[in-house]
Amino acid sequence: MIKITNLEKIYRTDLVETVALNKMSFDVRKGEFVAIMGPSGCGKSTLLNILGLLDDCNGGSFLFDGIEVAKFNEQKRADLRKKNIGFVFQSFNLIDELTTYENVELPLIYNNVKAADRKVLVEEALDKMQIMHRRNHYPQQLSGGQQQRVAVARAVVNNPKLILADEPTGNLDSHNGNEVMDMLTTLNGQGTTIIMVTHSEHDAQYAHRIIRMLDGEKVTENILRELDYVHN
């Protein structure tokens, strides 16, 4: 599903040039759950931003479902992103002015889904994440665990092919963290490809494969378990 080859990302200021990704290459198959690990500043989040089409790269190739997207402009990236990718962040990133329901509804609005269909899909996602009873609450009225459930519901409501999770349990206690990991595993079991950046060895164990990074490069790749089957 994803194939990156010699991917490069360099940040330049007047005085310094920082190589965030240095000829990084790997691929992710459809239905796979991949954990990316490494120390702070190794380029994990940069990689995730490029995979999520939020950022562009300076060199290399990025095939998404067989299409070269490395040179896509902002509009094309936005189109591809909203149809195919869901995001889960460490700090949840819910919009404070919107209720639980409205936060989850947001991706559907930008995908021009009709109001009636939106209602069905949002309620389904909230149900799945067991947060329906908090549908009219604002993020600041929810606990951290509840906020992350809403964030996961928002990530899946559009039924994306790929979920990118950036330390999804980083701001949660172990109980809530495990619950979120269970949710992601369930989603993965239902066929959603997941790429997760994490510092937690515990969380990484949920994945099929762990890619370890250092200074913008892939250093090791461990397969924890085989993909049961390849989703078509």
Binding site: N49, K82, K83, I109, Y110
Partner: protein
């Protein structure tokens, strides 16, 4: 989608109350100012457009050549209307109209002074006035017919029929009311309360000449398209009939009469009331712009708070277009709320505005044009206020923001600072303008105009006075009066002028426009006009061929400009001897440096006004009551209507006073709205620099030093605004003052005062927020960061 945007906009407004209150208040003021001005501008543009087929109606104006200069007058000879109607097939109707202000209308029971006119019957065919009683055909059929407006008729005859009844005009002719028309629209260039038959005005066409231009000639063409052809022929129409007349008439559309009334060297200048319309419109737009700048600045300053939201939206599929749409929707939402408040404010404050600006406007608020204007203002406001924040906020890079969580530095600073500089530069310009205009008015009002303005009253009615000696003696012996004289025109109200004066040695190729009027003896002492040489007119009847001239004319006349010099009128019909020369005084343009040439003729028979200088008195009503009693005893059928000369003097500054009020009002509004923005901005900035302030305080900074740090940036902006605004204000005001002969010069202290005032206002505005931030607990701010 829009529902979602409006919902977000509403919640954002609710969540950030300071932002909302500042923005909506500022925008409401801006929009209200724009709407008030729109109503006024609309009425100015609608002048004379309530007459049906107004495109076909024209006023014949006359361009005269004086000393090689073309001067345009709105008055023409009584010979013109009948002659052109006959000669031009394109002219459907032509009517003469002589305006008569303050004429006594009386019946046995009631008397009232009202403005009106003598006009030809065609007047009612040209101006399609609405008849309440009678008709255009029968309006002025007989010589003594008079047409009254509805409100005038009501004074005399109540709600009953007026047609067929009689009233006395000017204490003389008994007129028969032949029709009643609706009052003239307020947006009409002339406001007549009665129209009498021109035939009763007493014009003998056989004696009239093409050089006697004292009335207005209105024309209705078959089609407005004919005007070019008519004007081509009309140009030499008078010269062909009288070579010496030197007048070139042309037809001028009544639609343009109000706004474009100023002619220089025979050409319309684009000045006139349009100058004020433009000034008002620019002022309103500036206030609106200042309010929109607040919205721009506060929205972009708030970007710190909204960066996460924008990034999340982008991550979940929002493209630039949908974000632009969202921020425009928010600007629209905010502007719409402000517009609603502004509409209410306009309805509430319009009477106050009308009174302040002394406007005569009849407003119907809910018309199609007004609704369209409200919608247009709303859209302009949305675009002005929304465009920059929409572009700025939608360009955020989500990857960067989400990676760093919150950017601690606020972008868009340069533009924001530039906009604040613009706001304060505008305030400085308006405030300097207010001071300069005010000082110019005060300077001219205090000038020694060469005649006494205070304690002089005059009658406003123009009855032909008899028994003047009796009245004068009675008044003088009353003990309340210093001097009494008679004539036409106070030194402020001399309107007759002409080029038909000659003297020995005059260069006949040069036409010189000389003001002239008739007066009695003691006129000069009544008005304190200094006689330089010679004597005043004598009341013994021997002065019928005497004239008194002013120094300006004496200088022009050269050798003949002396006592005993002779002044002839055209055709030699009069031959006058100069018996006195008075010192120049300002009589036409109160701002003029030099006096125009002037001739006073002695006329014992035809006095229209009484001039009375009063003895000093603490209670002015006492002597007035005494005078009224004496006057009404001698003229029992008249009532004593009077005016103070100093009021007339003040009235000559009407336009300057209006501009002054406007600049003061808009200056204060501009300062207020700008300060709203500055307050909001300083509050957001203090919030954004919370962490920095915390660190500084931990490292030992005092409250004063932190306050100084937060305040000085804004004061620098005001200083920058002063560098921009002061030279612009100086240039604008100097060019305005150049229009005045008698003028002040802009002083450095005026500019310095405004700059210091602006700095103080800015300081007070931002200091409260700065002190609050400086006094905050650093531990708290560092923890929250």
């Amino acid at each position: 989608m829009f529902k979602h945007y409006f919902k977000t906009a509403w919640r954002n407004l609710k969540a950030d109350k300071l932002f909302s209150v500042l923005n909506i208040t500022g925008l409401s003021i801006g929009i209200a100012a724009a709407l008030l001005i729109f109503i006024w501008v609309e009425s100015e543009y609608n002048y004379n457009k309530k007459f049906s087929k107004h495109d076909d109606i024209f006023l014949a104006e006359n361009t005269h050549v004086f000393n090689g200069q073309n001067v345009t007058y709105k008055t023409t000879s009584p010979l013109l209307a009948p002659e052109i109607k006959q000669q031009f097939p394109q002219i459907k109707y032509a009517a003469r109209s002589v305006f008569y202000p303050n004429i006594l209308l009386s019946t046995t029971n009631d008397k009232i002074y009202k403005d009106g006119a003598y006009a030809d019957a065609d007047f009612f065919k040209i101006f399609n006035l609405q008849f309440v009683e009678g008709s255009a055909g029968s309006a002025l059929k007989n010589i003594n017919d008079i047409v009254l407006t509805q409100s005038t008729a009501k004074v005399f005859f109540g709600n009953g029929n007026a047609v067929g009844k009689t009233l006395k005009l000017n204490n003389g002719v008994l007129c028969n009311v032949s029709a009643v028309i609706k009052d003239f629209p307020l947006t009409s260039s002339f406001q007549y309360n009665w129209i009498a038959n021109f035939k009763s005005f007493g014009v003998d066409l056989t004696k009239e000449t093409w050089t006697d231009n004292y009335l207005e000639t209105y024309v209705k063409l078959n089609s407005a398209k004919d005007v070019f052809a008519v004007n081509q022929t009309l140009k030499d129409f008078i010269v062909k009939r009288d070579k010496e007349a030197n007048a070139h008439p042309f037809l001028y559309s009544i639609r343009k009469l109000h706004l474009y009334s100023s002619f220089v060297d025979g050409k319309v200048t684009g000045n006139g009331n349009i100058k004020y319309v433009r000034m008002f419109a620019v002022a309103a737009f500036i206030i609106l712009l200042i309010a929109c700048i607040n919205f721009m600045n506060l929205s972009t300053a708030r970007s710190l708070k909204r960066s996460k939201e924008i990034s999340v939206r982008k991550v979940f599929g929002a493209d630039k277009k949908s974000l632009l749409l969202q921020f425009f929707s928010e600007a629209f939402f905010c502007s719409a709320l402000a517009t609603a408040f502004a509409v209410v404010a306009v309805v509430l404050f319009f009477p106050f505005f009308k009174q302040l600006m002394q406007l005569s406007i009849d407003v119907h608020y809910f018309t199609f044009t007004h609704i369209a204007a409200v919608i247009l203002t709303l859209l302009i406001c949305t675009l002005l206020a929304g465009a920059y924040p929409a572009l700025y906020l939608s360009s955020f890079d989500p990857a960067q923001i989400l990676r760093k969580q919150h950017s601690s530095r606020l972008g868009g600073g340069f533009i924001r600072k530039g906009l604040v500089v613009f706001q304060f530069a505008t305030c400085i310009i308006l405030l300097i303008a207010t001071i300069v205009i005010h000082r110019q008015i005060a300077y001219t009002q205090k000038r020694n105009v060469g005649f006494q303005k205070n304690n002089v009253i005059y009658t406003t009615g123009s009855d032909y006075l008899k028994s003047t000696d009796l009245l004068k003696n009675k008044l003088l012996s009353s003990g309340v009066v210093k001097n009494v004289s008679f004539g036409y025109g106070t030194p402020i109200g001399i309107y007759n002028s002409g080029s038909g004066f000659y003297w020995e040695g005059k260069d006949v190729s040069k036409n010189i426009d000389i003001a002239n009027t008739e007066i009695s003896s003691d006129y000069f002492s009544t008005f304190g006009i200094q006689l330089l040489t010679g004597r005043d007119f004598l009341n013994d009847g021997k002065d019928s061929n005497s004239v008194v001239i002013n120094q300006a004319l004496a200088d022009i006349m050269g050798n003949e400009g002396r006592i005993g010099g002779r002044l002839y009128s055209k055709g030699g019909s009069s031959n006058a001897i100069i018996t006195g020369i008075v010192k120049d005084f300002v009589f036409d343009d109160m701002n003029a440096v030099k006096s125009k040439p002037l001739v006073y003729r002695f006329d014992k028979e035809h006095y229209g006004q009484i001039f009375i200088s009063l003895k000093e008195s603490h209670n002015i009503s006492q002597p007035i009551a005494t005078i009224k009693k004496i006057y009404e005893k001698i003229y029992p059928s008249s009532s004593f209507a009077y005016k103070f000369l100093d009021e007339d003097f003040k009235a000559t500054f009407e336009q300057e006073v209006l501009v002054n009020k406007l600049s003061a009002l808009f200056g204060v509004l501009a300062v207020f709205v700008s300060c709203l923005g500055l307050f909001g901005l300083s509050s957001f900035m203090a919030e954004a620099r919370k962490k920095e302030i915390g660190i500084r305080k931990v490292l030992g900074a005092s409250v004063f030093s932190v306050t100084k740090l937060l305040t000085k940036d804004y004061l620098k902006l005001v200083v920058a605004a002063a560098f921009v605004g002061a030279p612009v204000a100086w240039m604008l005001m100097n060019s305005w003052l150049n229009g005045y002969g008698y003028r002040i010069h802009i002083e450095v202290w005026e500019i310095a005062t405004v700059i210091v005032l602006s700095l103080l206002i800015a300081l007070v505005t931002v200091a409260s927020q700065a002190i609050r931030a400086a006094r905050g607990n650093p531990v708290k701010s560092l923890k929250t960061e």
